[in-house]
């Protein structure tokens, strides 16, 4: 213990004695550990954080799918009930879905994220009330009427200031009168950890009496479950598979070839409807970025190890003295390691500060996704443990070689005044570190370059619609209590108003807008005359509900047939426009125009195809062309709509007019998401935002890597110049010209660079298969990126080497010959 205290005291003294070295070392480690910890905090927040409920490890996610329908594995209420009753011995299943509603208290209406839940939702999760009561297992059933609402703790605090009298008060949700019965426990914000749910209502509040509770094709519920005590996940999973087979047998029309599975709830952290194996693929992409961050830490450690090696060489004599005075090998190594650990502790502390700052920055990013998202990248024990592990790894990496060198101190050196110069082995080790740094930096820069090139390519790719001079606004008159007729009249007047505004080219309505990945409208589609094979379900196809001017407003060409017309009314024959991919898929040999399909089962009613639209981008700009169809608003009423307006010039001035138009037509209707389409794409994770974030992340890591590599090469060349001062003095005395000396210095730098770049290029090429999975719009072998990175790193590094090279030419032979 005494030894440790003395080593710590001495280590601290050494660090404070060399503030420049210490600052550079701590900063280097802070950047390496900080980058790692920040990225891990994101991974932790997105992937590893458990729901704040008792025994979260016992929670499972239930998935249900039918043959021939590879869509979202959501579950119908009828199938849920059967699975719940038949599997009750192994697991208690409960369900929810999410949406947005207008919550009116007094005169004020707020748009809130709502979860519609089965009665056993809270009991299954084990959530307790903070005030009042929660929804009971007896509530939320079909045919029942439970006009109650439970608020989340954070919403209660932020909206009502924690006023306990809210319990028992009447409120309106989308115009429906409900009574607040309680507040959920603090910290609980819904069953999907990424969503920030503000209120919970029983399922029968949203799915009114007319809802087809018994329709097994109406799959709209996300199902979770809690394993019964003593039941293993594998056992319960086997049970639900049997249940699904039974359902497939009993309901061959609606549940053909049904399969079901249970996964750990953690697998539902990124998506509320996970499929087997999906979570691991998602984690793998995070691991890729963590690996890049670890590479930065490795480069930082190489850099520091190099600096510590130089110091170890300078302190070899001190270690020899200590050894001569009786210090054992362990004690000498321990002292060297203590200093490394001290550096790592300080670096870790500063790294955590960097990571907290970066995490807060990332957490504050506004995600344009149509509902409230809660990114919680806060630091918990797991993140601190990760930072600590990174610091320990760094301490070992930077301290191991100096410690081994210290342990090998030769005590007999104290009797000799020489022996202070670096040996060939030491120089080789330093060169190895530099080659490693250069190679790592090349990899990081290539990854950064590829992502940047991908971002540029995606930003310039043909989206299938024109995002310029286009803006959108979202609204839902239902949230202000509007009935269907009122809402339809409101939308009709709104479109007239918009078209009358100067500068507006066209205006239309749509349920969905591009890059809104959270909301999806998916329907099972059966083409007339093309029976679905026995044992298969109709494929679920994504769709949008749009007004007549939609294609004109979005500038999506109708390649054949016609768009929707005002003459397509609620009473006229049902029509649809399909995209090119769906046309090819449903009618590969026939002319799709005039053909019909059903979205309500094999017996119709039938919807006639009147037009074929060019393929476009829909929910996510990164996705490949998917089958898609459009239905007219006039025949498919939706309260929630997106107003899309194409303007002649810049949209901003018209955007204000649009908002004013809504407020003047319907003062109580909330309007949100008023943005240009470019802003929408830029801020949406399903648009360019995710690519932009990833590009910035990789560019930051790449620049860190470049900085460390340049510092590393500069350090080694600089050190070698000072070590060879005498040699240069002799050479100059013998007639060497400055350029001869510079050639010697640059030659060494070029050798290190060439080896480092070659290794780095080879490593990047070896990684290309992995990178191909995460890149968009650019090949993982993009030669321009590889060439640019090579030139960049060579240029910057050689520029940095000019300083020691120039110093070498300035050596005074007389001084140099007296050197040492």
């Amino acid at each position: 213990m005494t030894s440790l205290i003395q080593d710590l005291k001495y280590g601290l003294r050494m660090l404070t004695k060399n503030p420049g070295f210490t600052a550079v070392a701590v900063l280097t480690l802070a950047l390496g550990i900080g980058a790692n910890t920040a990225i891990f905090s994101v991974v932790n927040g997105l992937v590893f954080r458990n729901l704040p409920v008792p025994r979260p490890g016992k929670l499972v996610s239930f998935g249900f799918m039918c043959k021939g329908n590879p869509g979202i594995p959501a579950t119908s209420y009828a199938d849920l009930q059967d699975a719940r009753h038949q599997g009750a011995k192994w697991v208690d299943l409960f369900a929810y879905r999410m949406g947005t509603d207008g919550l009116t208290v007094g005169d004020q209406t707020d748009r809130i994220a709502t979860s519609y839940v089965t009665g056993n939702f809270f009991s299954g999760l084990g959530v307790q009330p903070a005030l009042g009561r929660l929804i009971l297992p007896s509530e939320g059933k079909p045919g029942g009427s439970d006009p109650i609402i439970v608020l989340s703790y954070s919403f209660w605090k932020s909206r009502f200031g924690g006023d306990p009298s809210i319990v028992g008060r009447s409120v309106r949700l989308d115009g429906k009168p409900l009574t607040v019965v309680g507040i959920a426990q603090k910290g609980f914000r819904g069953a999907w950890s990424l969503a920030d749910i503000q209120a919970f209502v029983p399922l029968n509040v949203s799915e009114g009496p007319s809802f087809p509770w018994t329709d097994r094709t109406m799959r709209n519920l996300f199902v979770l479950g809690r394993l019964r005590p003593g039941v293993a996940l594998s056992r319960a999973d086997a049970a639900v598979q049997v249940i699904a087979s039974r359902l497939a047998h009993e309901h061959p029309k609606s549940d053909p070839g049904a399969t079901a599975w249970l996964l750990p709830e953690r697998d539902a952290s990124l998506t509320p409807f996970p499929k087997p194996g999906e979570f691991h693929r998602q984690v793998a992409s995070f691991v890729f970025f963590l690996a890049l961050a670890l590479l930065v830490l490795l480069l930082a450690c190489f850099n520091l190890a190099n600096m510590l090696l130089v110091r170890a060489t300078a302190r070899a004599h001190e270690m020899a003295v200590r050894s001569a005075l009786g210090a054992g090998r362990g004690r000498l190594a321990g002292q060297a390691l203590t200093e490394s650990f001290l550096l790592a502790i300080f670096g870790c502390g500063a790294g955590i500060v960097v990571a907290v700052w970066v995490s807060n920055l990332l957490q504050s990013i506004q995600i344009n996704a149509g509902m409230n998202f809660r990114l919680n990248f806060g630091f918990d024990a797991r993140v601190f443990l990760y930072a600590t592990c990174a610091a320990v790894l760094a301490a070992i990496l930077i301290g191991l070689v100096p410690a081994l060198r210290a342990a090998r101190a030769n005590p007999s050196e104290v009797l000799h005044e020489s022996g202070r110069t670096a040996t060939g082995a030491k120089s080789r080790l330093r060169s190895f570190f530099v080659v490693g740094q250069t190679a790592g930096s090349v990899v990081l820069l290539i990854v950064a370059g590829l992502f940047m090139r991908g971002l540029i390519a995606v930003e310039h790719m043909d989206l299938g619609f024109n995002p310029d001079h286009l803006f959108k606004a979202n609204m839902d008159p239902h949230e202000a209590g509007y009935k269907k007729a009122q809402a339809q009249q409101f939308y009709s007047h709104l479109l007239d108003r918009m078209r009358a505004i100067p500068g507006v080219k066209s205006a239309s309505l749509a349920l969905l807008y591009p890059s809104n990945a959270v909301m999806a409208y998916m329907m099972p589609v059966e083409a007339k005359g093309h029976a679905i094979p026995a044992g298969s379900a109709a494929p679920t196809i994504e769709a949008n509900i749009v007004s007549p001017d939609y294609f004109k407003t979005m500038q999506i060409p109708i390649v054949r047939g016609r768009p929707f017309l005002d003459s397509d009314t609620a009473t006229s024959s049902k029509v649809a426009v399909v995209n090119q991919t769906l046309a090819r898929r449903l009618w590969p040999k026939d002319d799709p125009l005039g053909e019909s399909f059903s979205i309500s089962g094999p017996n119709g009613p039938w919807v006639k195809v009147v037009g074929i639209a060019r393929n476009s981008t829909y929910l996510s700009i990164a996705s490949k062309p998917i089958p898609y169809f459009y239905l007219p608003v006039s025949q498919n009423y939706q309260s929630y709509e997106t107003l899309l307006v194409r303007t002649v010039g810049h949209s901003r001035a018209v955007m204000r007019s649009a908002e004013s138009a809504v407020h003047s037509l319907a003062p109580g209707v909330p309007v949100w998401g008023v943005r240009t389409m470019r802003q929408t794409l830029d801020r949406s994770l399903a648009g360019f935002h995710a690519l932009w974030l990833v590009s910035m992340l990789t560019v930051t890591l790449g620049l860190l890597g470049l900085m460390l590599a340049v510092l590393g090469v500069y350090g080694v060349i600089s050190y070698n110049v000072s070590r060879r001062t005498k040699e240069f003095g002799i050479r100059i005395a013998l007639g060497a010209r400055p350029r001869d000396i510079q050639r010697i210095v640059f030659r060494q730098a070029l050798i290190l660079l060439t080896i480092g770049i070659t290794v780095g290029l080879a490593a990047a090429l070896a990684m290309s298969r992995v990178m191909a999975h995460v890149l968009r719009g650019v090949s993982a072998h993009d030669p321009l990126t590889y060439a640019s990175v090579t030139l960049l790193i060579a240029g910057v590094t050689l520029l940095a080497c000019y300083i020691p090279a120039r110093r070498a030419t300035k050596v005074d032979p007389m001084v140099a010959l007296r050197y040492e």
Partner: protein, 257 residues
């Protein structure tokens, strides 16, 4: 013929004095190997050092003085031969045991002082005691006693760079004394000092010897060599001559009545 005379010196050494010697070297050799060259630094050295003796080793540069001192101080191990320290064979000890014995039995005084610049005077003197795992209170007493002994107790908080060369060497002597070693090994202790400071350090060693310390000193300077009881001369890794100064002193200075 050198071999014979060296052997005779060796024979004479073994027979000199009474009782078991503190240090006994028998046919000690040390060979340094490099890729192509084999250098015989010591070639069959026989030497006894008795407890309380003050021995000086002299010889030209490269004769093996420092190598001999390294081996006596357990800083290095011999290639061949026997070495007893306090009756214990130590020529084949492992590194850990050598460190331990070095720490307890040997005190070093170096030509270039070898104080650690980042430690205070107190900490420099304390250093070998901490490696011994000595309790703090005892360490403090020993450090202060040693510094008092060399007249440097008033500079405990100073760093070596704040001291003159002579003061640094006195601190180095204090460090060597603090552990109460069996033998003090001094390698050219005045080599980096001016004559005044050199004299002072030599006087200090003389006093320590009078108080019973066993000292083995390498020196070039015949004036300082004469301070010792005995001087052995090395040449090409062999002891080629020996002078007993006590007899000389006794001859020059008849006992006082």
């Amino acid at each position: 013929m050198e071999t014979n005379s060296q052997t005779e010196v060796g024979q004479k050494q073994k027979g000199n004095g009474s009782g078991e010697p503190l240090i006994r070297l028998e046919a000690l050799t040390k060979v340094f190997y490099t890729e192509e060259v084999e250098t015989h630094a010591l070639s069959g050295v026989h030497l006894d050092i008795r407890k309380g003796e003050y021995l000086s080793i002299s010889g030209p540069s490269g004769c093996g003085k420092s190598t001999l001192l390294s081996i006596i101080g357990l800083l290095d191990s011999p290639t061949g031969g026997k070495y007893w320290l306090g009756g214990t064979p130590v020529e084949n000890l492992n590194l850990s045991d050598r460190s331990r014995i070095r720490n307890r039995e040997v005190g070093f005084i170096f030509q270039s002082f070898n104080l650690i610049g980042d430690l205070t005077v107190y900490e420099n003197v304390e250093l070998p005691l901490t490696y011994r795992g000595m309790p703090s209170a005892e360490r403090k007493k020993r450090v202060m006693d040693s510094l008092e002994r060399v007249g440097m107790a008033h500079r405990v908080r100073h760093y070596p760079s704040q001291l003159s060369g002579g003061q640094q060497q006195r601190v180095a002597v204090a460090r060597a004394l603090a552990g109460s070693p069996a033998i003090l090994l001094a390698d050219e202790p005045t080599g980096n000092l001016d004559s005044k400071n050199g004299e002072a350090v030599m006087d200090l060693l003389k006093e320590l010897h009078k108080e019973g310390a066993t000292i083995c000193m390498v020196t070039h300077d015949p004036r300082y060599a004469r301070n010792a009881d005995r001087t052995v001369h090395l040449f090409d890794g062999r002891i080629v001559d020996e002078q007993d100064h006590r007899a000389h002193v006794e001859e020059e200075e008849p006992p006082a009545n």
